[in-house]
């Protein structure tokens, strides 16, 4: 037992070191930590022994603030948690509120929800593609990913009036109907995306530099993935086929035909592959929705005020990052007594330490990129 004091968070362990042990601080302002995340690294040479993340640099007290807001106002705050999939967060919150109100959504409303959510998923995965390529040092991928994403934002912009923070769904449906141009635009976008995805995949998936830097790096075993509560593509890349859309279906996902891509190595490359495959599945879902897009009302009868029956309500949705769960405790009135969000990034990041041990710092950057964390969703 040594007498020195370790920086906070590190565990006292006896480790054989080749060189002198030292500690490096990464963040909170660092281009590769995807926002205001701070990582404290314990190094042996350039090899990482242990990593301790520090949070709270973007802790905005959303859960406390929500207690003095009405339910509908909170939907706007859910946009600002995981802003890359804002539309899916809206859905998650609305699902919990609908349970409390005991209402459903008309068919057209459900289709609008699924289509926008899948567009959001593609947008989020494209940002992943861009950042992953960028973090590996390929500026071209960075430009590619954002180029196609802009087209999705054009559609979202037209439908919801906002590019990023959509705030579009309400309990019982959505704010307003989609315009007539919606279906043609999505159709033409899909046609374009399918063509370009071929190029994009060829660019990274078979690139020898990418393969060298990702195959066998940052392996997360199936047991660890479950134990750490990982979800979404991170979990599925480790060989666990759990997708809320399939295993705990909400909306109309049970009526749609799509697969859940699963890979079994659990390394950085697999997590990339799963996300790319998910883009294709989303395209498939969107195509079905376009074919079956029904006429009719887009929302149910409006409530004069949103007051939940006393009790606690839980909803789970699959965002692009994983299991996004909302837990609402209602007592009385139009304000929540407590709202808690289970963000997927928080749990996924818990597995970081086991994944990076024994790798170099540059691998940490690529591993972190494939966890695809959004920090405001962790800190809330």
């Amino acid at each position: 037992m040594s007498l020195r004091r370790l920086p906070p968070g590190f565990r006292e362990e006896n480790i054989d070191l080749d060189t002198e042990e030292f500690f490096v601080n990464m963040g909170p302002q660092h281009p590769s930590t995807h926002g205001a995340l701070r990582l404290a690294l314990r190094l042996d040479g350039e090899t990482i022994i242990e990593v301790v993340p520090h949070f709270g640099y973007i802790h905005r007290g959303i859960e406390k603030q929500a207690e003095s807001m009405s339910y509908l106002q909170y939907i706007a705050l859910s946009d600002r948690q995981d802003y890359l999939t804002a539309i899916q967060n809206n859905w998650g919150v609305c699902l919990a509120l609908e349970k409390g109100l005991g209402i459903g959504v008309p068919e057209r409303g459900e289709y609008i929800r699924v289509m926008l959510a899948e567009l959001g998923r593609i947008a989020s995965h494209l940002v992943f593609y861009a950042c992953f390529g960028g973090d590996l040092g390929g500026q071209t991928a960075l430009l590619f990913g954002f180029k196609e994403r802009e087209m999705i934002h054009d559609i979202l912009d037209e439908v919801t009036g906002s590019r990023l923070t959509t705030n579009f769904f309400r309990p019982g449906g959505s704010v307003h109907d989609v315009p007539d141009t919606f279906i043609p635009r999505v159709t033409s976008f899909l046609k374009h995306l399918e063509k370009t995805m071929v190029d994009y995949e060829r660019f990274l998936s078979t690139n020898i530099i990418v393969l060298e830097r990702t195959k066998g790096i940052g392996i997360l075993s199936k047991e660890d993935a479950i134990a750490y509560g990982c979800s979404g593509p991170v979990l599925r890349a480790s060989g666990v086929s759990y997708d809320v859309r399939k295993n705990d279906p909400y909306g109309i996902y049970s009526q749609l035909d799509f697969n859940v891509p699963v890979t079994y190595n659990g390394d950085t490359y697999d997590r990339y592959v799963v996300r790319i495959a998910e883009i294709h599945e989303s395209i498939k879902i969107l195509r079905q929705c376009i074919k079956q897009f029904p006429e009719g009302p887009y929302r149910g009868q409006e409530k004069a005020s949103i007051r939940l029956k006393p009790g606690s309500y839980y909803s789970a949705t699959e965002t692009a990052k994983g299991l996004y769960a909302t837990y609402v405790v209602a007592v009385s009135g139009d304000k929540p007594y407590r709202i808690h969000t289970r963000g997927p990034s928080f749990a996924n990041l818990a597995a970081l330490n086991t994944m990076v041990q024994g790798h170099k710092i540059s691998d940490l950057v690529s591993i972190l990129a494939t966890l695809d964390p959004v920090i405001p969703e962790i800190d809330r």
Binding site: G56, K64, I103, L164, H340, F346
Partner: protein
């Protein structure tokens, strides 16, 4: 810049020297205004829009600012994109100090102007970047579109082009005025403007009526008919994994003292919806035992921890452990009710730990951080927790934010 700033004093008295200084100004401003190198700094949503504006579609390179620098020492423009929290504020100020002058700051988004959506009832968000560093241009929006960012850049360009060595760049003084004051003054000024606008509009309407006495509006107000939107019933949820009755009976095998939450009898009603997870109450002593049984039992196999969270009721805390079986898909919420420690004096209650519960992080590694969050937010101590530190707020933060009686000097109540 020291020498250059002395130049006007030396040259201006010489005949023709003024023109020389003007020329130097022109060249220097031209160079500065056309290649502003921004610092890669972004904390939240607005940062994504900042990234979008530097990518293929919007192409910030058209304005000479495509060189995003990761190091403050190579940058001269600070685009503050995203919410600023009190924990991040020192880092932000340090970054600003590390940027060599002449330097400029753009506050992007509502958060950096006033706190934006997080202005009221919030204990951690700083209301405005101008309270920390001098800001040149504010861009409203939540988030501002890339076009708005470009407008901000061009505005800054105009500002730079008007600078001169005669009046060298210098940091402005921070406004020493409480935030609420500025707000009330602004709202007063606004109200006056509104009044003028209303009067002008009333005048215009009167004029119009005078000129067109027989005018009738072609529009009629339309009320949305009630039957245009149907009352949709909640769809029946399918049963996934074990039913609530089965789960409850298995849990009863291990611990016969558990009860159902929010129900008078220990009977599960048959019309309970399937998508409502079973919620059981267990005593603190039996908590770990029950959880480890539920995890290892082959029938329940609750091997996935969704979350550990808590609720503060006035008299007690509820700690809720949300479990799921990843293979079978059923969920179970285990709830422990923890009475608040009454032995602590009234003044110290807000800053002291009021309850204790054993940790389950040896069963679920995922629980480690979630329990830390509950500790951080509620002040509930977890026995045998390997690393119990504050998670989100600063390590010397006083109080526990999610308690119902939490107060903080930074909180500004929303006016009703």
């Amino acid at each position: 810049m020291g020498i250059m700033n002395a130049v006007p004093g030396l040259l201006d008295p010489i005949p023709g020297g003024k023109h020389l200084v003007n020329m130097l100004d022109y060249v220097a401003n031209w160079a500065r205004a056309n290649s502003l190198w921004p610092l890669t700094y972004g904390t939240s949503c607005c940062a994504i829009e900042m990234m979008s504006s530097s990518m293929a579609r919007y192409d910030i390179a058209r304005f000479g600012s495509e060189v995003f620098r990761a190091s403050p020492r190579q940058a001269d423009l600070f685009i503050i994109a995203g919410t600023i929290t009190s924990k991040m504020a020192p880092a932000l100020q340090m970054l600003w100090e590390q940027i060599p002058g002449p330097k400029y700051a753009i506050a992007m988004g509502a958060c950096t102007i006033s706190g934006g959506p997080f202005m009221y009832d919030n204990y951690s968000v700083i209301r405005g970047a101008n309270t920390l560093i001098p800001v040149d241009v504010f861009i409203p929006g939540c988030p501002p579109r890339p076009e708005a960012l470009f407008h901000g850049l061009l505005t800054l360009r105009d500002k730079i082009l008007r600078e001169s060595f005669r009046n060298p760049w210098k940091e402005g003084e921070a406004i020493d005025q409480p935030y609420a004051d500025r707000w009330s003054e602004a709202s007063k000024a606004w109200a006056e403007l509104e009044k003028i606008k209303d009067e002008e509009q009333a005048e215009a309407r009167r004029q119009f009526k005078e000129n067109n006495p027989d005018y009738k509006s072609p529009y009629k107000a339309v009320r949305v008919k009630k039957d245009a939107f149907p009352e949709v019933p909640r769809p029946e949820a399918p049963l996934i994994g074990l039913s609530a009755t089965d789960l409850f009976s298995i849990a009863l095998e291990q611990d016969s003292s558990i009860t159902l939450y929010n129900s008078d009898s220990n009977e599960i009603s048959p019309d309970r919806p399937n998508d409502m997870p079973l919620d059981i109450i267990v005593s603190k002593e039996k908590y770990v035992e029950l959880i480890s049984f539920l995890k290892n039992d082959e029938r329940t196999n609750l091997n996935y921890l969704i979350d550990v969270t808590a609720v503060d009721w006035e008299s007690h805390f509820d700690v809720i452990t949300q479990l799921m079986s990843i293979e079978k898909g059923h969920k179970l919420f285990v709830r422990v009710s923890l009475p608040k420690d009454d032995s602590i004096e009234e003044e110290k209650r807000a800053t002291s730990i009021l309850a204790e519960i054993p940790s389950i992080s040896h069963l679920y590694p995922a629980a480690e951080w979630k329990e830390r969050e509950v500790f951080d937010m509620f002040g509930i101590h977890f026995e045998n927790h390997p690393d119990e530190r504050r998670l989100f707020v600063d390590h010397d933060f006083k109080g526990y934010p999610l308690r119902k009686d939490f107060t903080h000097p930074h909180i500004m109540k929303r006016p009703v």
